[in-house]
Each structure stands twice: as C-alpha cells, then as structure tokens.
Amino acid sequence: MPILLARGLTKTFGDFEAVKGIDVEVAKGEAFGFLGPNGAGKSSTMKMVAATSPRTGGELSMFGLDPDVDGAAIRARLGSCPQQDNLDEELTVEENLHVYGRFFGLPRAVIRERTEELLDFAQLTERRRDKVEPLSGGMKRRLTIARALVNDPDVLLLDEPTTGLDPQARHVLWDRLFRLKRRGVTLILTTHYMDEAEQLCDRLVVMDHGRIVAEGSPRALIQEHSTREVLELRLPVDGHDESDGGHTELAHLVEGVGERVEALPDRLLIYADHGDAALETVTDRGLQPVSALVRRSTLEDVFLHLTGRTLVD
C-alpha cells in the first residue's frame, strides 16, 4: 500500500481553485518532491496531505487512512514542517522539542531521551538552553525539522525546507535530510529550487497552476523534456527593445541551431546534446556573443519547456 495516494485531489478557496485535480502516489521510503513556482498549489497540497486542511474534492489517503475521518491518527504518524516556521521563540530550543512532544501525548521520559538525539541531529546541542528567537534562520529550520521528528514519524513532510536560507545553511540542511533518507524515513517535500529537487528527490512531480505537468525521476524528466546540454548565449542588444532585454527579438538569429531555442529576456537558451558544437554553429553564422556558457540541462529547463516560464522570477 502506498504511503500517500491522491486521485483527482482538488482544493478550492472561495471560487479560486488552487489544486485542480492531481494524482500522486508515494511509496514507503521514497523521497518525493513537488516542484513548482510560487502559487503552484504546493502548500495547499501539503496541508491536505498533512491532514491539517480538508480537501475540497477527489480521493486522498495517507497510510491507507482518510484524513477527513482519521486526521488525528494520520498526524500522529507524520512529521510536518510548514513553510512558515511556527516555533515558540520565547521558549528555549529544548523546551520547543518538549512542548511539541507533549502535544502528541508522549511521556516526558521518552521526550527527554529523544531530545538528546534530536539536538544532535539538528546540531543544536550547544544551543539547547538558548531561546529560539536569536537563532539564525538555518538553525530555526533545523529545529523545526527536529521537532517534527519528535514523534518518530514514518513520513516527514517538508514545505520549502530551505527557502530563505543562505547556500551554506541549505547544504547543512540537505545533509541532514540525506541522513533521514538513509534511515528509511519517507520524505515528501515541496520546493521551487530545481537544485534542491535534483539533490533530494528520487521522484517528483512538476506542478504549475494547480496541475501536475510532468512526473518522473529528475534524470528521467530531464531526458524526456530537455536535451543533454544547454548553450546559454548573450548577444549584443543595441538597437533592440531594451524593456525585455532584447533577446526575444534575437531568437530568429539562432533558429535551427540545436533542437530548440528558448528566449529569456536577458539570454537565449539553445537546447542541444552537444553545446560546444552548437556554439560553433552560432559563431559560424557570424554572431558574436557577449558571453556563451555550455552547461548540462536541469529541471529548470524542464519547467521552462513545459510551461514557457522560469521557476524563480
């Protein structure tokens, strides 16, 4: 039985449909992601999965249970990190763990024992008696995750785990999440960072405007929806419309180079299995790029191809 099973799942706020009938299945032990830009409906979906917000329509089951009927039972087996931290910042680090454990009705002795492990896991042992308020964003996030583990859940839900963190803090956090994954915890996360999705997810769905537009492993998605490499090209834009950086006007100049061209305001993306060869073709046409960069395709390219937009604006 899958851990999470959704069929035609919808969520409506007033007459606005935030989630428009999605099908998702997550197996035990998987690291599964929802990748999509702001407003895609990721948080709305996560809240339904976390049994904290009722679904509007469709089917949804967690551990084979219906959140509408067995919400409390589902939540008891979940760890949940909402997009917005909701720690009690007046309390100390370990008090936050204690208080949260008590919400689950865990005996104090059990919480005490787990607190040691969790502090160690969150690398907060030294700060255990400090108030939460002055901690850095990364520390608070790690504490939120540690707190979500206090009931020793089978599944950890993470809504944008590293949004707003600096690169170093993100890497520390990813490392922690890898550990959990190795321990067999099922991870279900949302993100609008393609590198995060690539790093953490075995499998993911790409979400846009409340719908799932693609599904697969990061590698399979890239193979299916993009080329092996991408040539990023900036051309001189004098005389062209500056308001959009001019590059949309220039797309015709590289037509036929590579398999496909996407024009962003400030650059052209040429999709080709061999970026260097594509660059040669470009220079052979007499074009003199201001800059040229060959890189491998990412999920960002998949998203761009599927929706015509970039993930982060």
Partner: protein
C-alpha cells in the same frame, strides 16, 4: 502497516484537552509575574478608592445601597469585573498571536490535537487563571473587611463563570478578526462601558430603561448580581436566572469560538 515507535494516539477527550492546556499553562507560568499588577492591581485599587473611600460617603449619606454597606456592595461585583477583564486580556491579543504571530495554534494542529482540544485547553487555563485571581481578590479584600461571611467563597466560581462567558464570546470575535485593531475598539466600546453600567457601582434601576435592557443582554450584570447574591448570602430565584444566563453565554460563546477557530485554522 503499524510500525514501532509511532506515537501512541491519544483518544479524543479530556486528556487531549489537558495536553493542549499544558502548553498554555507553561506560557502562563512564564508570564504571570509580569502581569500580576495590571491584572490584580486594577480591581484592588477600585476596591480601595470606591469601596472604602467613596463608600464611607455613601454610607454616611444614605446608609449604603439597599441597606448593604457600600464596601459589601462593591466588593463582590469587582470579582465579576475582574473575571471580565481577565477574559478581555487573555482572549484577544494573545489568541490573535497564536494564529498570526507565533502560529502556535497551527503547530498544535499539526499534531494529534484538534481545534476543540486547543480551544478547550486554552479556555481551561484562562479559567484557572481567573480562579486564582478571584481567590486572591477575595483573600485580599477580606483583609480590608470587604467580605463578612464564608459565602463570599462562592463568588470565586462566579468570577470564573463571568470570565468564561466573556472569554468564549471573545474567542469567537478574535477568530473572525481581520486585524488586531478591533480589540481596542472592543475595549473602549464594550468592556469599559459594561464595567460602568452593569450595576457594579450603583444598581441598574437608577439607569434609563434602555440601558437596563443592555445590562440584561450582556453577561457582566448577571455576574455582578450573582456574585453579590452569593457574597451577601441573599440568593433567590433571580440568582438562578443570572446563573442560567451566564451558562447560556458560555454555551453560545463556545459555539462561536469553535466555529470561528475551525474556520480560521482549518481552511
């Protein structure tokens, strides 16, 4: 597919309410010292200024109110006032904070707790605070000779009941508030006028009929009268009516609180 180490599910009921209450109790333990003067000082100052100061004038000129010395008239009423004030302090800004500022209500609802557990847990801690404050008031006021009999102890639960009548309704208001600006309005337009015109300092019979009606349809006057009936050992049928009205407010307020909170927190 049950695995070991999963948190035992606490069945719905008083235990889960207790788990929620534990958190609010912890917050109270951390903050009560800081608020003890503002809370407790107010009613006590009124007792001294009005009960003893103004009271001696009243007693000299007209022999008290309805044959009761002014201090004995005012003191039990102030227990009900204190209940209302506690409710107003605890059920607006802090409640608003728990769903907008630190979002701890959301934290709680991500666990085995439900909206009912959280609301009842929070209200029970407010009731407990009110019980302590009422008891402390009775104790201190007795030192000033404001209570003459052991019946005054019955005023303590009346203070708590008055507190709950306001707290439940105000939870309902707060859960529907879009900004925290409304709370000042509630204080100015509801709490303060009620304190002045609910028979605390003079009987409501002295008011025009329209304002007497206002006393009837709001909780404070009923709390004031019931508390007074208890403290002066003069309970009668009307006391039961006051009790019933307060209970209706608590029940209605609970419905308002639970529906509002559910809408706000589980959308």
């Amino acid at each position: 597919m049950t695995s070991e180490g999963v948190a035992p599910l606490v069945p719905p009921g008083p235990r889960r309410v207790g788990l929620a209450a534990e958190y609010f109790l912890r917050v109270w333990r951390r903050t009560w010292v800081g608020s003890v003067f503002s809370r407790f000082g107010g009613p006590l100052l009124m007792l001294l200024a009005l009960g003893i100061g103004l009271g001696s004038l009243v007693d000299d000129s007209s022999g008290g109110v309805g044959g009761v010395g002014y201090l004995f008239f005012v003191a039990p009423a102030l227990i009900a006032v204190q209940g209302m004030m506690d409710a107003a302090q605890e059920s607006m800004w802090p409640v608003y904070g728990y769903f907008t500022w630190n979002r701890m209500y959301h934290s709680m609802l991500a666990t085995s707790l439900t909206v009912t557990d959280v609301v009842l847990g929070h209200l029970s801690v407010i009731a407990m605070q009110s019980a302590i404050a009422s008891a402390a008031f009775v104790l201190v006021a007795s030192l000033f000779g404001a209570f003459a009999s052991w019946w005054a102890l019955l005023s303590i639960p009346v203070g708590v009941l008055t507190c709950l009548a306001f707290a439940t309704v105000l939870f309902g208001v707060t859960s529907r508030a879009r900004t925290d600006g409304v709370f000042n309005v509630v204080f100015r337009l509801v709490i303060t006028p009620l304190m002045l015109f609910s028979g605390v300092f003079f009987p409501v019979d002295l008011l025009p009929t329209g304002m007497q009606v206002l006393a009837w349809v709001t909780p404070l006057w009923h709390g004031v009268e019931l508390s007074r009936d208890c403290a002066t050992a003069s309970a009668d049928v009307m006391s039961l009516v006051h009790l019933a009205v307060l209970l209706v407010f608590v029940a209605g307020g609970l419905v308002l609180a639970l529906t509002g909170m559910r809408k706000r927190l589980v959308s």
